[in-house]
Structures are given as structure tokens and as C-alpha cells.
């Protein structure tokens, strides 16, 4: 059995019972909508609070000293990261799932490429900026903080930075692997 018509009829004879009926699908769709609105609101609230805390912190710090420079770098990196995540989310949101397949494929490939860039080099830059910002502030901490507290911060960082980096790299590698896999499937290979 290898004629195309035979294969076609065999294919079309496959049967499958759906997991849910139409009413359940409608209920799921409505629930997803509610969840999405809640998530959206939670995201906006979290971002607003974070931005507010960072800006307040930055404003109350005296200018022209290492703490201000360090904080500016750290806050800058964090704000850029947040803005890029928002941009990435908006790009994904704009992709029209009812588009013709060739256009959708291009849009989703472009989105995944953007995610790949975001996960790889931009995350690395943000982490380096974050560490540099903190390192700039260390001499001030040494002068102003009690000795034990200064060493507590240093030791905490020595342990904390590699640990955070490990988890960050692990998560990034997993996402990059997934993205590479999807991109390779989406790319035309004739």
C-alpha cells in the first residue's frame, strides 16, 4: 500500500475522541482569559513597585560618589532587562495566530531569534554590569560599614554570585537548546 490515494484514505480514516466537549473548551477559554488578565495586572504591579523602589533608592543616594555610580549601573542594567522583557512580550503578543502559515513562521522565527539574543548576550551583559556596579560600591562599604558586615557581604557575594550564575546559565542553556531545536525545525531545509 503505497499509492498516494491509499495513504490519503488511510490517513483520513484515523479516529480520535476529544478530551473535552465544546462547552468545556469554552469554559477553558474563559478561564484562560481571566488568568491572562490577572497575570498581566500582577506583572504591571510588580514592575511598578520595582521601578518605584529603584528610583527612590537612586534619588536618595548622593551624587558624584562610587555608590551613586555603582547603583546607577545596577539600576540601569535591571531597567534595560525589564524593558527588553516587556518588548519581547509585546512582540509575542502581536503575532497573529490566524495569519497564513508562511507569514506566521517568519514572525515566530524572528521572535525566537530575539529571545535567543536576549537570553544569551544581553543576559551576560546585564550580569556583568550588575557585578561591576556592586564592585564599584565595595570600597565605600569598606570605609563606612562595620568590618564584620563588610566581610559578610564579600563572603556572601563570593558564594552568591557563582551560585546565581550557575542557575542563570543552567536556565539560559535550557532555553537556548529549546530555541535552537525549534528554530532548526522552522528553518527551511530542502
Amino acid at each position: 500500500m503505497n499509492e498516494f490515494n491509499d495513504i490519503q484514505s488511510l490517513w483520513q480514516n484515523q479516529k480520535s475522541e476529544p478530551n473535552s466537549n465544546a462547552n468545556e473548551i469554552i469554559a477553558m477559554a474563559e478561564q484562560q482569559k481571566r488568568k491572562s488578565i490577572k497575570k498581566h495586572r500582577a506583572g504591571i504591579i510588580t514592575l511598578s513597585i520595582t521601578s518605584l523602589v529603584l528610583i527612590t533608592f537612586w534619588l536618595i543616594t548622593p551624587f558624584n560618589n562610587p555608590v551613586a555610580y555603582g547603583l546607577s549601573i545596577m539600576i540601569g542594567a535591571l531597567v534595560c532587562r525589564i524593558l527588553l522583557e516587556v518588548y519581547s512580550y509585546m512582540r509575542m503578543y502581536k503575532i497573529d495566530i490566524t495569519e497564513v502559515a508562511s507569514v506566521y513562521k517568519k514572525q515566530i522565527s524572528a521572535f525566537y531569534k530575539l529571545r535567543k539574543q536576549l537570553v544569551t548576550w544581553f543576559t551576560a551583559i546585564a550580569v556583568i554590569a550588575y557585578i561591576s556596579g556592586f564592585a564599584i560600591m565595595l570600597p565605600v562599604f569598606k570605609q563606612t560599614l562595620p568590618n564584620w558586615f563588610y566581610w559578610y557581604i564579600v563572603i556572601f557575594l563570593i558564594v552568591g554570585i557563582p551560585l546565581s550564575a550557575f542557575f542563570l546559565i543552567r536556565q539560559a542553556r535550557s532555553e537556548i537548546m529549546d530555541l535552537k531545536n525549534v528554530l532548526s525545525q522552522l528553518e527551511i531545509k530542502n
Binding site: F4, N19, N21, I25, V182
Partner: protein, 177 residues
């Protein structure tokens, strides 16, 4: 435009829920087969994806302007949902343990299952573009409708169909697959 041998759902005097119910009944098997073609026959992934497709259909039903374009619209959503969910389709299934239910007699069932499994394995060896085309050809859609769903010109489609059909034939004849 030869708009499909597929049912066109009448909108007049019908509530959106009733309309959706009819669409769901009419298109679920087609959408499921399409999703299963993407999932190397993985039933669970195909069912979840088909479910996602109909959630989108429900959410976007009011944006569909031309009722005659319903089938093309659903197929587009189905393909795009499959592409979107490729990231979650990590596992490859050992199809030898999975029996696919068909409308054939028990005697023909074994041969039918073997062939269906072979088609799924062959689909795993083609690009997404070729897969989309093969799945629409297997569903028996007209050329005009296929080009409308995939967004490629009629002349380009004819060339692609010929090449893809040849490739599928070669893959199905390959004993290693």
C-alpha cells in the same frame, strides 16, 4: 475559489455557542490528525494542541469576517498553534507501542497501523514547510485552498507539491524509516 468539501457552518439564527459546537464537531478530527502529524503520532500532545486550537477558535471567532473562509482559517490556526507549541514537543514517541484507531476491519488494522506509523516517522524527516503541505494533501484539500492556507502562489505550490510527493514516496519506501 473552491472552498473545500468541508462543512460551512451557517451563522444565521445561531448563537455563537451553537455555532462553535458545530464547528468543533465538524473540525475536531481534521485538526487532531493535523496535530498528530506534527507530534510523530503522540496522542497526548496532539490532543492538547487540538484543544489549544479550539480555544483560539472560540476566542477569535468574532474576528472571522468571511464565513466561507472558515476552514482555511481553522487550518491556519491549527498549523500556527503546532509551530508555536513545537518548543513543548520535546519527546519523541516510540510508535511501535502505540496503536492508532482506524475505521478498518481487524484484518486490515495491523497493516493500516503500520502504514500510519510509517507516515508519522516519514513526517519527522521533513521540514516544517513540507510537513504542512503533506498534511494538507493527506486531508485531500484543493490546490487553491492549500495555497490560501500556506500563503504561497499557485504556481509555486504545484512545483512544491510534486517535489514533496516524491520525497514522501521515497521516505515511505525507505526500509530504514
Amino acid at each position: 475559489m473552491a472552498y473545500f468539501a468541508n462543512p460551512i457552518i451557517p451563522k444565521l439564527t445561531m448563537s455563537t455557542k451553537d455555532e462553535f459546537e458545530l464547528i468543533y464537531q465538524a473540525y475536531y478530527p481534521k485538526v487532531f490528525r493535523l496535530c498528530s502529524g506534527y507530534a510523530s503520532g503522540r496522542d497526548d500532545w496532539a490532543k492538547e494542541t487540538a484543544q489549544d486550537v479550539f480555544i483560539t477558535v472560540w476566542n477569535k471567532l468574532d474576528t472571522l469576517k468571511d464565513q466561507k473562509a472558515l476552514a482555511a482559517w481553522i487550518y491556519r490556526i491549527a498549523f500556527n498553534t503546532c509551530m508555536k507549541r513545537l518548543k513543548e514537543n520535546k519527546g519523541r514517541t516510540d510508535l511501535s507501542h502505540q496503536l492508532i484507531e482506524t475505521a478498518y476491519s481487524p484484518e486490515q488494522q495491523s497493516e493500516a497501523n503500520e502504514m500510519i506509523q510509517k507516515i508519522h516517522r516519514a513526517l519527522a524527516h521533513v521540514s516544517v514547510d513540507e510537513k504542512n503541505l503533506i498534511l494538507l494533501m493527506l486531508e485531500g484539500l484543493e490546490n487553491d485552498d492549500i495555497s490560501d492556507i500556506l500563503g504561497i502562489s499557485r504556481s509555486h505550490l504545484r512545483v512544491k507539491m510534486h517535489r514533496t510527493r516524491q520525497k514522501l514516496k521515497t521516505l515511505l519506501e525507505d526500509e530504514r524509516i
